[in-house]
C-alpha cells in the first residue's frame, strides 16, 4: 500500500478557494449512497472529500468534474460538508491551472463563447433575440409587468426555441405585459460558475445586472431553473435583489387568477420531472403539479424518485457541455422511471433536462413511447 504524507500547502489552497467545509466530513458514506453516479458507475464523493482533506487531490482526475451539483448529497449530509461549494473549489484550482482532462475539454470552448458572445455556443450575440421574431414580442420597457429572460438555450438551441415560442404565446394570450432584452441579455453564468470559472461568472453577472438596472427591471421571469437559482440566490452577492419568478410558478399564478384559461383536454398519463435547481435547490415542487392538474383529462403519475428525491438529468454543474458516455447517462434511467410509472408524456421545465431527455428518447427502442415536453409546450396546446 502506498504511503503518502498530507500536503499542507494544497490543503490551504483548497480552503482559500472555498473548500473549507471538507473538514467536517466524518466519512459516513451517505453522499455516495444518494449520488446518482453510483447508479451508473462507481464514483466516490467521500473519497474526493477525503483526498481534499489531506491535500491529496489529483487535480487531473476526471472525478473532479463528475458532480452535477444535483444537491442530493448536501441535502442528506449529516455534517454539512457543502459538497457543491467544496467541489467547485477543486474545479477552481483546475480551471486556474487550465486543466480540463479528456471529456472535460469542451469547457474551454464554452468559456470562449461565454466570454465573447455571452453564450456557450459561441453564436453571435446579435442573434440572441431572433427566436422572438414574428411572435409579437416587444423589447422590455420599464412600464412592463415583467422581463422575460429566455436564457441561452431557449434563445439558440432549435429544440428549445419552441419552448421560448410557447412561453411568449402563453404570455400574450394571458395578456401579460412583458418584454425581452434580446442581444443585451447575457448568459446567467450559473453553470460556468460551477465549473470553477468564478471570474467569468462575475463578468456575466455584472453585465446582466448592469443591463437589468439600466432597463429598470424589477421582476424577472425565467424559463431555466439555473437562471432562477443564480438570480435569486447568487446575484444578491452583488447587492442586487430582483424579484425572480420561474415559469412554472408564473403559470400557476396565471391559472389561479383566471388570466389563463385551459379549454382542451389532455387524456394522457403525464409525469413531472423536478429539475434539481427548481425543486431541490429552490423548493418549487407543487406549482408545476398544480398547473398540470388543472388540465382537464390529464392524469398525473409520479416517478419512483420525485420531488426532493428527484433523479438528476445529468446536466447540472457544467455537465451539459460534457459528453457523457452511453450507459452512464442519468437521463436514460429517468426515462425508464417515467415509462415504468405508466406515463406517455414526460413534462419538465428546464432546458438542460429537455436537452438530455430528448437525447435519451432517441435511444429508446420505441421513440414514440414517451413524449418530452416543456410545461409551456403542453399548456400552449391546451389553450
Amino acid at each position: 500500500m502506498e504511503t503518502v504524507a498530507p500536503f499542507k500547502e494544497i490543503i490551504e489552497v483548497i480552503k482559500e478557494q472555498g473548500g473549507d467545509a471538507f473538514k467536517y466530513c466524518y466519512q459516513c458514506g451517505l453522499c455516495d449512497t444518494v449520488c446518482p453516479w453510483n447508479r451508473v458507475r462507481d464514483f466516490s464523493m467521500r473519497k474526493l472529500i477525503r483526498e481534499a482533506t489531506f491535500g491529496l487531490t489529483d487535480i487531473e482526475s476526471e472525478d473532479l468534474w463528475r458532480c452535477t451539483t444535483c444537491g442530493r448529497c448536501p441535502q442528506y449530509c449529516p455534517r454539512g460538508v457543502k459538497q457543491i461549494e467544496s467541489g467547485v473549489a477543486l474545479r477552481k484550482i483546475a480551471t486556474e491551472n487550465d486543466i480540463f482532462p479528456g471529456p472535460i475539454a469542451p469547457i474551454r470552448t464554452v468559456s470562449v463563447g461565454l466570454m465573447g458572445e455571452g453564450n456557450p455556443f459561441n453564436e453571435e450575440r446579435k442573434k440572441r433575440g431572433e427566436w422572438a421574431e414574428g411572435l409579437n414580442v416587444k423589447p422590455f420597457t420599464e412600464s412592463m409587468e415583467v422581463l422575460y429572460f429566455s436564457c441561452c438555450y431557449l434563445s439558440y438551441a432549435p429544440r428549445l426555441k419552441k419552448v421560448a415560442a410557447a412561453t411568449a404565446d402563453i404570455l400574450n394570450k394571458a395578456g401579460v405585459k412583458f418584454g425581452i432584452l434580446g442581444s443585451k441579455e447575457s448568459c446567467c453564468g450559473e453553470s460556468i460558475r460551477k465549473t470553477g470559472n468564478e471570474e467569468l461568472f462575475k463578468k456575466l453577472a455584472k453585465e446582466n445586472i448592469r443591463t437589468f438596472i439600466d432597463a429598470g427591471v424589477k421582476k424577472i421571469l425565467v424559463s431555466s431553473p439555473h437562471s432562477y437559482h443564480t438570480f435569486k440566490n447568487e446575484y444578491p452577492e452583488f447587492m442586487v435583489h430582483f424579484e425572480v419568478v420561474h415559469i412554472s410558478q408564473y403559470l400557476s399564478e396565471l391559472i389561479i387568477s383566471g388570466r389563463l384559461k385551459l379549454t382542451k383536454e389532455y387524456n394522457k398519463k403525464v409525469t413531472y420531472h423536478d429539475p434539481c435547481y427548481a425543486g431541490r435547490h429552490n423548493g418549487i415542487f407543487e406549482e408545476p403539479r398544480e398547473v398540470l392538474k388543472s388540465i382537464p383529462g390529464l392524469k398525473l403519475v409520479e416517478m419512483a424518485d420525485n420531488r426532493a428525491d428527484s433523479l438528476c438529468c445529468g446536466g447540472g454543474g457544467g455537465r451539459i457541455w460534457v459528453e457523457t458516455p452511453k450507459g452512464e447517462r442519468f437521463s436514460d434511467l429517468r426515462l425508464e422511471q417515467a415509462i415504468t410509472a405508466g406515463a406517455t408524456t414526460l413534462v419538465t421545465s428546464c432546458p438542460y433536462c429537455i436537452t438530455n431527455f430528448e437525447d435519451s428518447r432517441l435511444a429508446l427502442e420505441d421513440t414514440e413511447a414517451l413524449e418530452i415536453k416543456d410545461i409551456t409546450e403542453l399548456i400552449q396546446e391546451m389553450m
Binding site: 503518502v4 466524518y26 466519512q27 451517505l30 449512497t33 453510483n38 464514483f43 467521500r46 477525503r50
Partner: protein, 1037 residues
C-alpha cells in the same frame, strides 16, 4: 380518594413523570421518610421502559424487572400515585412550592373500578393501540397495558362514541361496580410541596417528519421502539417476529443507526442519542434467539459501546452467525411492489455503493426531549439547553436552574436506564439535604393488629379462587374449582373472587379470615412474584401471621398457558390448589427480625466521588467517616483541570475539600488503610489504621469510592521517547503552559491504548472526549498546530457529539484505524529535527498516511485500582470480569452491591466523566440515606437455620452461600455453622449442599414441600399404577 387529597395536600416531594426514573426517585424518597406524590400524564406509570421487551446488556425482561417496582410504589404508605395528571402551575420557593395538579378525566372512577376489563370487551370502537406503537388495535376504553398500574381502564375522549356524539354508552351498562362515569370532569388539586423532581422522560425521534427512510410509507420499515413491541410477548404478534405488511417471518433484517441523531440536517439532532448502539445489539441478539436463521445487518458509523460490559455485548452480537456490522450510513433505495421488501444502498471502501434487499428495516431512532418541553420549562420556571433538554450544571447534573427543582432521567439528556436510576437516587440525596429539617414529619408507618396465636387451634384453611377478571375465569371453571376446594382436607371456607387484588376485595379476604376464624389462607390466583407481599399484608391486617399465606398460581401456570383447553386447565387448577392446600396445612408461623441500624456511614475513598457522597450525607445529618489512603483529599480529580463542557474542576475540588474538612459531621482519616471489616447491613464494624493510630468504626452503611488509575502504556515508544505522553500528562503540560508542548507544530493522538483488547476487554469511556478536549485546548493556544486524532470508533456519546464536530470545524483531523492494522510509531529525523513519524492506514483513501509529529499523546486506558481487590475481599463484595466493582443489578441497582448496606460510586465502578461521577456520588448517598433513615432493618422469616446437633462442621454451606450469611461459631460441641438471618436471602443453596440436612430453609421445609408433592396425585388415584408389560417395578404402589 378526592377527599383524601383535599385534606392532605401537604407533601414533601412531587415527582413529575412515572417512568423508571420517577418510580425510583419516589421509592428512594418515600423510603427516606418523605411523603411523595408521583404523577404521570399517561394513564399508567412505567414510561418507555414498560414498552421495552428486554434491556441491555443483561437482556433482562424489561417488564419483569420494572413491574415489581410498580407494586412497591402502589403499596408504599408514603407514595400517592396520580396518573392522567399534569402540573398546571408552580409557585413559591424551595421548601414551600404551591403546585396545581390537573387530573384529566379518565371517565372511570378509580375507587370503584375492579379492573375486570368487561367495559373493553363490550366497547364497539377499535382504536390503534398506542402502547403497542399502533401495530395492533385496542378499544376506546381499555387498560393501558396488562400490567398497568393502576390496573384501571381509561376512556380515550377522541374515539369514544359517547364523548364524541353521545351515541353509545354500552360500557356504562356492563360495568357491574358502576365505575364508568362519562360525565367526569377535569379536576384541579392544590398541593404544597417542599421539592420537585422532574422526570418527564423523552420522546423517540419521529422519522415520519422526514421521508428519508420511508417510515410511514413503506410498511416494513419500523422504528426500534416498534420493534421492541414486535419482539415482546405482549406485543402485536405475541412475541413472534413478523413484519407488518404480510405478518410473515422476515429472513433478512437491516438496522439503520443514528436515525435522527448525529446530524445537522434540518429536523435532526446534532447530538448522539447514546443508547441506540447498545439497544440495537440487544435487538440483534434477541432476534437471533427467536430465530437463528434470520440474517441481521447493522449499518452504522461508529459503534459506541462505551458503557459497562457494552464492549463484550457488542462482540457477542457481532460474533453471532449471519450478523454483519457495516460501517456506512445508508439511504433507502426502493420498496419492491410485490414483496414489499425494501432495498438499502450503502457505501463500501472496496466495492463502491451496493444496493441490497431486506425483508424488514428497523430504524434505530434517537431520543428527543419530552413533547412540549417548552411548556414544561415555562410551567416549572426552569431553563433548557440548546437541544431542549434540561439545562444542568456540570458540577451537578441533577439540579435544574431553579432551586428546589431537581431533574432525573432522560430529561437531563439522552441516557440509559442505569443513569436514569442513578439520577433518581441522587435526587433523593439532594431533596434530603434540602428537606432534612422535616424528614419523617409527614410520612407514616403501617399499623397492624396484634398477631393471634394459632398454635393450639385446629387447622382451618380458607381458599379464595380469583377469576382475575377474565384471565382465569374465562378458561378455568372457577365455580367448579371453588366447590372442589371446599371438599379438600382442612378447608373450612372456599369462595370465588372476581379480582382478589383490588383494594375492596382484599378487604373481603381479611374479613373472611376473622369471620371464619381461618388460620391458613390459600389464594388461587396469579403470581407470588408481584402479589405475594400484598396478600401477606392482608393476612397481617386480619391478625394472622403472614407466613400462613400460600399462593396457588393458576394464571401463569395454568389459564394463560392452557387457554385453548378449558377442561384440562380446570383439572390442572384443581391439582395446583390441592397441592397448595396440602402445603398450607404444614406452614409454620415465622417471625421477621428487626435489627437496629447504626446511623453512621463509612465512605472509602477521598476523591471527588467519596467527598461528594460524604458531604451530601453529612448535610442530611448523618455522621460520616471518610477514609483516604493518601495524605490529602482529591484523588484523580487533582489531575483534571477542565472538562470538555467548560467545567473548571480545581476550584470546585478545592471548595469541596474545604467543606469536607470543615463539616463537623465528617471525620476524615488520611493515610488510611482498612485492616478488618465485619458485620452486615446496619451494623458494620471496620478497623482502620490511620496516621499511626488504630480506629474502630461502627457504621450502618458503606460507600466504596476507591477510584481507578491511568494505564502506563508500553506501546508506541511511551517511556522511551519524551515526546510521547499520556492524555493526562498532556493536560498537565497544557495547564503549566509548557512551551515545548504548546509550541509543537504537529500533534498526533492515538486512541484506545491499553483497552478494547483481549486482556482489557472494555472501553474506557472518557478518552475520546478527553482527547478532543485537549485538542481543542491546544488549538486555542496554538492555532497553527497540526492535530491528528487516530481512533477506532469516536465515542463522543450524548451531547458531547457537538464537540466532535467542533473539533472538525477547528481543523482537527480524525483518522480511523483498525485494531488489526494499528498505527506504526517510529522516530525519524526530518530537517535536522528529531520527530516522531506515525504511519496509519486510511480506509477511505486506501493509502497509508505518514504524519510527522513532534508530540504524540496516548489515550491510555483507565484501569482498576489495585485496592479494588483488597476492598472486595474485606467487604465480601464482587468484582466484574474487568476488575471493577460489580453492582447488584446493572440496570436497576447501579450503585448497590449485592450485599445489603454497601454502595459504590465513581470510577471504581467503571470509567466515567466527572459529571457522571458526581451524579453517581449523590446516588450512592441517596441509597445510603434510604437505609440509614430507618431505625431498623427487617430480615425475612423465610431464612435458613441450622440444627447444631446435626451439623458436622464440614463448611459446605459456607462456601455455597453467595451472601456470606453463614459462618462458624464456637459452641460447647465445637465449631458449628450459624446463619446470619439478615444476610440470608433464602435461596436454599446451602440446603442442597449439607450432607446431614442440618441446615434447612424455613417456609420451604421438607415437610412442607413433600406434603405438596404428595398431593400432586389425588388420594383416590394414588397406588393405582396402571402397570405396563415389562414394568421393572418402581415400587411406588
Amino acid at each position: 380518594m378526592e377527599n383524601e387529597i383535599a385534606q392532605k395536600n401537604l407533601i414533601d416531594v412531587l415527582v413529575v413523570g412515572g417512568g423508571i426514573s420517577g418510580i425510583q426517585a419516589s421509592l428512594d424518597l418515600a423510603n427516606s421518610g418523605f411523603k411523595v406524590y408521583l404523577i404521570d400524564k399517561s394513564p399508567a406509570i412505567g414510561g418507555k421502559m414498560s414498552q421495552l421487551d428486554k434491556t441491555f446488556p443483561s437482556n433482562d425482561c424489561s417488564m419483569c424487572i420494572e413491574s415489581p417496582k410498580f407494586n412497591e410504589c402502589s403499596r408504599h404508605p408514603n407514595i400517592t400515585i396520580l396518573t392522567y395528571t399534569e402540573v398546571g402551575t408552580v409557585k413559591g420557593k424551595p421548601g414551600n412550592f404551591k403546585v396545581t395538579l390537573v387530573k384529566k378525566p379518565r371517565y372511570v372512577v378509580e375507587s370503584k373500578c375492579t379492573g375486570c376489563n368487561i367495559c373493553a370487551e363490550y366497547c364497539p370502537v377499535k382504536v390503534p393501540d398506542k402502547y403497542n406503537q399502533e401495530l395492533s388495535s385496542n378499544k376506546a376504553v381499555h387498560i393501558y397495558f396488562s400490567q398497568a398500574l393502576p390496573l384501571i381502564p381509561y376512556i380515550d375522549p377522541e374515539t369514544c362514541l359517547y364523548l364524541k356524539d353521545g351515541s353509545c354508552a354500552i360500557c356504562e351498562g356492563v360495568c357491574k361496580p358502576g365505575a364508568i362515569d362519562l360525565h367526569q370532569e377535569e379536576e384541579e388539586i392544590e398541593v404544597e410541596v417542599g421539592a420537585i423532581v422532574l422526570s418527564p422522560g423523552f420522546e423517540t425521534f419521529d422519522p415520519k417528519l422526514r421521508t428519508d427512510f420511508g417510515y410511514g410509507v413503506m410498511e416494513n420499515v419500523v422504528t426500534s421502539l416498534d420493534y421492541e413491541r414486535i419482539l415482546c410477548s405482549t406485543g402485536p404478534y405475541e412475541g413472534t417476529i413478523r413484519r407488518p405488511s404480510d405478518k410473515k417471518h422476515p429472513e433478512k433484517i437491516a438496522w439503520i443507526q443514528c436515525v435522527g441523531s448525529r446530524q445537522i440536517t434540518p429536523g435532526g439532532n446534532s447530538y448522539c442519542s447514546a443508547v441506540c448502539c447498545a439497544y440495537t445489539q440487544k435487538q440483534v441478539i434477541l432476534t437471533k434467539d427467536h430465530d437463528a436463521g434470520i440474517e441481521a445487518t447493522i449499518f452504522h458509523n461508529d459503534i459506541r459501546a462505551f458503557g459497562k460490559d457494552f464492549e463484550r455485548f457488542y462482540q457477542r452480537a457481532e460474533n453471532l452467525p449471519d450478523v454483519r456490522f457495516i460501517r456506512s450510513y445508508v439511504s433507502v433505495g426502493k420498496e419492491i411492489p410485490d414483496s414489499k421488501n425494501v432495498t438499502i444502498r450503502y457505501s463500501t471502501t472496496d466495492d463502491g455503493v451496493k444496493e441490497e434487499e431486506f425483508d424488514m428495516v428497523v430504524l434505530s431512532v434517537g431520543l428527543n426531549p419530552p413533547s412540549d418541553v417548552q411548556g414544561l420549562a415555562t410551567t416549572f420556571g426552569i431553563e433548557l439547553n440548546k437541544h431542549g433538554f434540561c439545562k444542568t450544571n456540570p458540577a451537578n447534573a441533577i439540579e435544574t436552574s431553579r432551586p428546589g427543582i431537581y431533574v432525573s432521567g432522560a430529561f437531563i439528556g439522552p441516557v440509559d436506564i442505569p443513569e436514569s436510576v442513578v439520577a433518581a437516587s441522587g435526587a433523593n440525596a439532594l431533596c434530603s439535604e434540602l428537606l432534612s429539617y422535616r424528614r419523617g414529619d409527614l410520612s407514616k408507618e403501617r399499623e397492624y393488629p396484634v398477631e393471634k396465636d394459632v398454635s393450639e387451634e385446629e387447622i382451618r384453611i380458607g381458599v379464595v379462587t380469583c377469576l382475575c377478571g377474565a384471565n382465569i375465569g374465562r378458561v378455568v371453571d372457577t365455580p367448579g374449582v371453588a366447590a372442589y376446594a371446599g371438599t379438600l382436607p382442612n378447608v373450612v371456607y372456599s369462595e370465588e373472587n372476581l379480582f382478589a387484588c383490588s383494594t375492596e376485595n382484599a378487604q373481603l379476604i381479611a374479613d373472611a379470615i376473622v369471620k371464619h376464624n381461618l388460620n391458613r389462607v390459600v389464594l388461587a390466583a396469579c403470581t407470588p412474584r408481584t402479589h405475594e407481599p400484598l396478600f401477606r399484608d392482608t393476612c397481617r391486617e386480619a391478625g394472622l401471621n403472614q407466613y400462613f399465606f400460600e399462593f396457588a398460581n393458576i394464571r401463569e401456570h395454568c389459564s394463560w398457558v392452557h387457554s385453548k383447553d378449558k377442561e384440562g386447565a380446570t383439572a390442572k387448577a384443581k391439582d395446583i390448589i390441592r397441592m397448595s392446600v396440602a402445603r398450607a396445612a404444614e406452614l409454620e408461623p415465622l417471625q421477621e427480625f428487626e435489627l437496629p441500624v447504626n446511623p453512621q456511614v463509612l465512605v472509602i475513598g477521598g476523591g471527588l466521588a467519596g467527598m461528594t457522597s460524604a458531604l451530601s450525607m453529612a448535610n442530611v445529618g448523618f455522621e460520616v467517616y471518610l477514609l483516604e489512603k493518601e495524605n490529602d483529599l482529591g484523588g484523580m480529580a487533582r489531575r483534571i483541570h477542565y472538562t470538555i463542557d467548560g467545567f473548571d474542576v480545581q476550584p470546585h475540588l478545592k471548595e469541596l475539600i474545604r467543606k469536607v474538612y470543615r463539616h463537623p459531621s465528617i471525620h476524615v482519616y488520611l493515610d488510611a488503610a482498612i485492616t478488618d471489616a465485619s458485620g452486615y447491613v446496619g451494623n458494620f464494624t471496620t478497623t482502620v489504621k490511620t496516621e499511626g493510630q488504630i480506629k474502630v468504626i461502627d457504621h450502618g452503611a458503606v460507600i466504596i469510592a476507591t477510584g481507578a488509575e491511568e494505564y502506563k502504556p508500553t506501546e508506541y515508544l511511551y517511556g522511551t521517547d519524551d515526546k510521547v505522553l499520556t492524555s493526562l500528562e498532556l493536560e498537565d503540560h497544557i495547564i503549566r503552559r509548557d512551551e515545548k508542548v504548546v509550541n509543537s507544530r504537529s500533534l498526533v493522538m492515538i486512541q484506545c491504548v491499553g483497552c478494547r483488547q483481549t486482556d482489557r476487554n472494555y472501553c474506557s469511556r472518557v478518552c475520546c472526549n478527553q482527547s478532543i478536549k485537549n485538542a481543542l485546548k491546544m488549538r486555542e493556544m496554538n492555532p497553527g498546530m497540526d492535530i491528528h486524532i487516530l481512533f477506532r470508533d469516536m465515542r463522543t456519546y450524548g451531547l458531547k457529539e457537538d464537540y466532535y464536530r467542533e473539533a472538525s470545524e477547528k481543523d482537527i483531523k480524525f483518522i480511523r484505524y483498525e485494531p488489526a492494522d494499528k498505527p506504526v510509531v517510529e522516530t525519524a529525523v526530518e530537517g535536522g529535527h528529531h520527530i516522531i513519524r506515525v504511519t496509519v492506514t486510511d480506509p477511505i483513501l486506501g493509502k497509508k498516511l505518514a504524519i510527522d509529529a513532534d508530540l504524540l499523546t496516548l489515550a491510555a486506558a483507565i484501569i482498576p485500582s489495585p485496592s479494588t481487590q483488597s476492598i472486595a475481599k474485606l467487604f465480601k463484595v464482587s468484582m466484574s470480569p474487568d476488575g471493577f466493582f460489580q453492582e447488584a443489578h446493572v440496570k436497576l441497582r447501579p450503585v448497590d452491591f449485592a450485599a445489603d448496606g454497601i454502595f459504590m460510586c465513581g470510577i471504581a465502578h467503571y470509567p466515567k466523566h466527572i459529571t457522571e461521577t458526581i451524579s453517581q456520588a449523590y446516588a450512592a448517598a441517596g441509597r445510603a440515606i434510604n437505609l440509614l433513615s430507618r431505625d431498623t432493618v427487617t430480615a425475612s422469616g423465610a431464612v435458613c437455620d441450622v440444627d447444631e446437633n446435626d451439623c458436622v462442621s464440614c463448611g459446605a454451606c459456607i462456601t455455597a452461600c453467595s451472601y456470606g450469611a453463614i459462618s462458624f461459631h464456637d459452641t460447647p460441641k465445637g465449631k458449628k455453622a450459624t446463619v446470619n438471618p439478615v444476610l440470608c436471602k433464602g435461596d436454599g443453596l446451602c440446603n442442597a449442599k449439607c450432607p446431614t440436612q442440618a441446615i434447612k430453609l424455613k417456609h420451604y421445609t421438607d415437610d412442607e414441600i413433600f406434603a405438596q408433592i404428595d398431593a400432586s396425585v389425588p388420594d383416590d388415584e394414588r397406588g393405582q399404577c396402571p402397570g405396563a408389560a415389562g414394568c421393572a417395578g418402581c415400587g411406588s404402589h
